[in-house]
């Protein structure tokens, strides 16, 4: 298949002909050449969410992760420092780590016994006389920049570039909001991850995460039978807003709806009488401010390109091929909130993953989208919804209605600038 990218035309950037203000070209989801460029220009350059530092709580802990197509070992060394090591022996490319997680001070390649410390250093290799020396100038590959925010670990393959906080921009405030829901101000991701294979381009997922237009339709089956209060949050008359947070990040800000009801814990589908110890701990910690925090609840934010936090659920999207990706999902765990944590696991298990009563239906839509995009016409995917009523909020962010495609347009602006960067 020939790529439709043509870098020789247009006065603007090469993606001008594929990404318009109100529509994007279908080939962006189906062209393998574009996917290859995305790996280089997005996945192996910008900050990408990898995992959480609570998954490697103790020195020596490690867990296998994906970053783009890379098989990455997230380790914590004996000094407590985090590393993202590439699972490839510097000798002949074999994988040095085959367990999905564990605790080890070193990784030993099964092929010829080369051994690496969990910070990536080569510590030894058998029969050194064949090299004429005991030390070699070799090590495991690594993701050169690793940083975390509230324990959410990100990696960037660019040795230089914007700092993580600069990349997160306004989205860091959403992670603050999440952490603030812990009486100790700490989030953990310790419930393990479901892995949901998805035969669709990763961007269909990223776009859908703050699409407030689909829930009533895709999730009508579950809202209807459970009497869920989620549906009205995304109705035509909802006061919630979709916010372009900049840098490709976006959110469905549901706080206006929760403020209307002004009921603590309504965001979690419960009442304070059901979780009295938690509410008491939050009031002790936050005083006057507790009421607001307990009413406003958790964020619903998509952090470019692959971290999605849907209140109590966390998703890590990783691409596999142009039409194939994996969604990793787990439950938020709030330190000091025992009453909430089991409920969060239970709700999350009911909602997400291959059999989830929400996500299985989203995923069915992603896969049907991908199949539909194989059709030759009308060529474009429309993202104009809400352009007629967008406005700028008091902090300078573009906002649309609860069901508007404001978040998607922010995603594509960021995508285009990264893909056109040299």
């Amino acid at each position: 298949m020939t790529s439709v990218i043509n870098t020789s035309t247009d006065t603007g950037g090469p993606y001008d002909r594929l990404i318009k203000r109100d529509k994007v070209h279908g080939s962006l989801y189906t062209d393998p050449a574009i996917f290859d460029q995305e790996l280089r220009k997005i996945w192996y350059r910008t900050w990408v969410f990898v995992g959480h530092d609570s998954e490697v709580a103790q020195p020596g802990d490690y867990v296998r992760k994906r970053l783009g197509l890379q098989d990455v070992i997230m380790t914590r060394d004996r000094d407590g420092e985090l590393h993202l090591l590439l699972n490839r022996c510097a000798h002949r490319g074999n994988q040095v780590c085959d367990d999905v997680k564990g605790n080890a001070s070193a990784f030993r390649c099964p092929y010829h016994g080369w051994t690496y410390r969990n910070n990536g250093e080569l510590v030894g290799f058998p029969f050194f006389k064949g090299y004429g020396e005991r030390k070699l100038d070799l090590a495991l590959g690594r993701v050169p920049r690793v940083d975390s925010y509230h324990g959410f670990v990100f990696g960037s393959f660019a040795t230089e570039g914007p700092a993580l906080l600069e990349h997160l921009g306004a989205a860091s405030g959403e992670l603050d909001r999440l952490a603030q829901l812990s009486p100790e101000g700490r989030v953990e991701l310790t419930a393990g991850w479901l892995q949901h294979q998805t035969r669709a381009n990763w961007k269909l997922l990223a776009e859908n995460e703050t699409d407030g237009y689909h829930p009533q339709f895709v999730h009508g089956s579950i809202f209807g039978v459970t009497g869920s209060t989620i549906g009205p949050l995304y109705s035509d008359s909802s006061t919630a807003v979709t916010r372009d947070l900049g840098n490709g990040h976006s959110e469905n800000d549901l706080r206006p709806e929760f403020r209307k009801f002004a009921e603590p814990m309504r965001w979690f589908g419960t009442t304070e009488s059901r979780v009295p110890d938690y509410v008491a701990a939050m009031r002790a910690k936050h005083g006057q401010d507790a009421e607001r925090i307990l009413i406003e609840g958790a964020p619903h934010v998509m952090i470019f390109p692959n971290l999605f936090i849907a209140e109590i659920q966390v998703f890590n999207i990783q691409p596999v091929a142009v039409g194939d990706c994996v969604q990793y999902s787990t439950a938020v765990q709030l330190v000091g909130a025992a009453e909430l944590n089991r409920r969060m696991v239970s709700q999350c298990v009911g909602s997400v993953g291959p059999a989830g009563m929400l996500l299985a239906d989203d995923t069915e839509m992603y896969e049907r989208n991908q199949a539909g995009l194989a059709s030759l016409t009308p060529e474009w995917v429309d993202v104009r919804r809400g352009l007629n009523r967008e406005r700028v909020d008091e902090n300078g962010f573009t906002i649309g209605g609860a069901t508007d495609e404001t978040g998607m347009r922010g995603f594509w602006r960021r995508y285009k600038s990264l893909m056109e960067a040299t």
């Binding site: 892995q195 895709v218 089991r342 059999a355 299985a360 199949a371």
Partner: protein, 177 residues
Amino acid sequence: MTTVVSTQMGLGPVPQEFDRHAVEQLLYREARLADEGDYDAWEALWTDDALYWVPVGGEGGDPQQQMSVVYDNRNRISTRLKQLRTGKRYAQAPASNLRRLLSNIEFLGGRENADGGVDLEVGANFLVIESRSRGMRLWGGRTTYRLRRRDDDILLAYKKVVLVDNDQPLPTLGFLI
């Protein structure tokens, strides 16, 4: 690597009041009702304290603290089936075409239940062939059932489905496995 079935912990002797033929017929019927999407008849097999569990990562950890593909009590089984019956559970609308085989049926022992009786624990291997528009898929693994006698009937109190590939990314599992 195949995980050792660890469900034999806490098991007593096989209770006497279960006829092997009757038990097999129940398991085959449960399989057929799931294959054919006969949700009402399938739901009627369960006890009120039912648990339907599809763990990940081998046998799974503590299901109250670790993620599972499915961890349904009786109430959530009911919700899952209500959603399926709407006809708008898109992950299963249109429904998958399914047929499954059960084999290696073993009576593993007896397990005390909350009613003070003893449930029969049965293990079996299974293979499901699923056809959807995305293609054919084989699902295989080991199921542990707990069966309870009530008068002349045998009911299903527990079904744990350990997929052989539950340590890998799994596609959407919209049907009853």
